[in-house]
């Protein structure tokens, strides 16, 4: 089998020949050369796609099997307990409107205060205390209409007294019922209390 191939050859100027000529050279190769050429050609034609395919495959594999990295995330929920009062001032006035003639004890009540609490702790309680010592008149406290806990009626003193016990993890509220109690025999006067409510572990 013979094949004609055409080649374009540059003829250098220094060879004394004009400019640049294109010479067509017809070369005839024998079958062996052709086979080697074909072999080389087909080898390239096969190897390159295979190489490309392998490369792509590896690339794809690399994309699907990326190296993982991890780190730790630490979350903490600390014990949180908050409390708020709806009002900062309460006035209890014993004027005689509710007094009963012939009785020494006179009283007045107020339920205008609401305590709001929120806690994620177990077994909390609210205590109540006053800064006033001595007191001329008696003030009682009681939690009413509470959404949780167990009310404890207490006479307010400078020693913290339980006001609401057994508060579980919750957000809730309760009304504070103050009862001011005076005896007629004590005469008139004014007691100013700075009442402190404290929510704490019981």
């Amino acid at each position: 089998m013979r094949v004609r191939t055409m080649e374009r050859t540059k003829i250098p100027r220094e060879n004394g020949i004009f400019g640049l000529y294109l010479i067509t050279r017809i070369a005839i190769f024998d079958g062996k050369v052709l086979r080697e050429k074909m072999k080389s050609f087909f080898s390239k034609m096969v190897i390159y796609p295979i190489a490309i395919a392998i490369f792509l495959l590896l690339s794809t594999q690399a994309a699907f099997c990326q190296v993982s990295r991890s780190h730790t995330v630490t979350v903490i929920v600390n014990p949180v307990t908050v409390m708020q009062l709806s009002t900062g001032t309460v006035n209890l006035n014993i004027t005689g409107a509710d007094a009963i003639a012939g009785q020494d004890e006179m009283s007045v009540t107020d339920q205008s205060t609401t305590i709001y609490w929120g806690t994620n702790c177990l077994a909390q309680k609210i205590t109540i205390e006053t800064n006033l010592d001595p007191q001329q008149f008696k003030v009682m406290s009681l939690a009413v209409s509470q959404t949780g806990g167990t009310p404890v009626e207490a006479e307010i003193s400078t020693t913290p007294k339980d006001f609401l016990r057994d508060i579980e993890r919750s957000s809730g509220n309760t009304r504070v019922r103050y009862t001011g109690i005076a005896l007629a025999s004590q005469g008139i006067g004014t007691d100013s209390h700075l009442i402190t409510f404290t929510i704490t572990t019981q």
Binding site: I76, N78, P79, V80, T81, V82, M83, Q84, L85, T87, G88, T89, V90, N91, L92, N93, I94, T95, G96, A99, I100, A101, G102, Q103, D104, M106, V108, T113, I115, C121, T130, F137, V139, Y178, G180, A182, L183, A184, S185, Q186, G187, I188, G189, T190, D191, S192, H193, L194, I195, T196, F197, T198, I199, T200, T201
Partner: protein, 162 residues
């Protein structure tokens, strides 16, 4: 080094937060004011009727009633008093007298209230406190010269003051 500082800071912050969470407090100003209280009530009513004479021509038989009582609660001054007044005077020869018992103060004894349209003291020196179920005594008398006195309703007002 930085890691250690961070850990220490976190521990300190957590401890602080924990402390904060242990006790939350809220304050409120509560004022208890006891003003002057003077309260009195009276049981009643009372009916007094003269329909007899003293034997021997000594006039009409007076009548008395102590079926009623009063209660007071008083926290003002230690010199409180109870006064009594009648809404309109009685005619001449008709006498209405009033006596109030008292343990908290001092009774002024029998007081003629027949014409007491202006209040008169019946108990004085009332201390702070209460007096319950104290007897009220009415004495009703008339002279024969006053004649027949038709049934008349009188309003007796007792007032406790400082």
């Amino acid at each position: 080094m930085k890691k250690s500082i961070m850990i220490i800071a976190l521990v300190a912050l957590s401890a602080f937060a924990f402390q904060m969470s242990l006790a939350q407090a809220a304050n409120q100003l509560v004022t208890l004011e006891v003003k002057v209280v003077n309260k009195i009530n009276i049981s009643g009513p009372v009916s007094l009727m003269i329909d007899d004479a003293i034997p021997g021509g000594a006039g009409l038989q007076p009548v008395s009633d102590n079926s009623t009582s009063y209660n007071i609660t008083h926290n003002g001054s230690a010199i409180g008093k109870i006064t009594a007044a009648v809404n309109s005077p009685l005619p001449a020869g008709i006498k209405l007298e009033l006596t109030l018992a008292s343990t908290l103060g001092t009774s002024t004894g029998i007081q003629d209230i027949s014409n007491a349209t202006t209040a008169i003291d019946v108990v004085g020196g009332i201390n702070q406190g209460k007096d319950a179920t104290q007897m009220i005594t009415y004495d009703f008398s008339a002279t024969p010269e006053a004649g027949v006195f038709a049934s008349t309703v009188k309003t007796v007002t007792l007032t406790v003051t400082d």
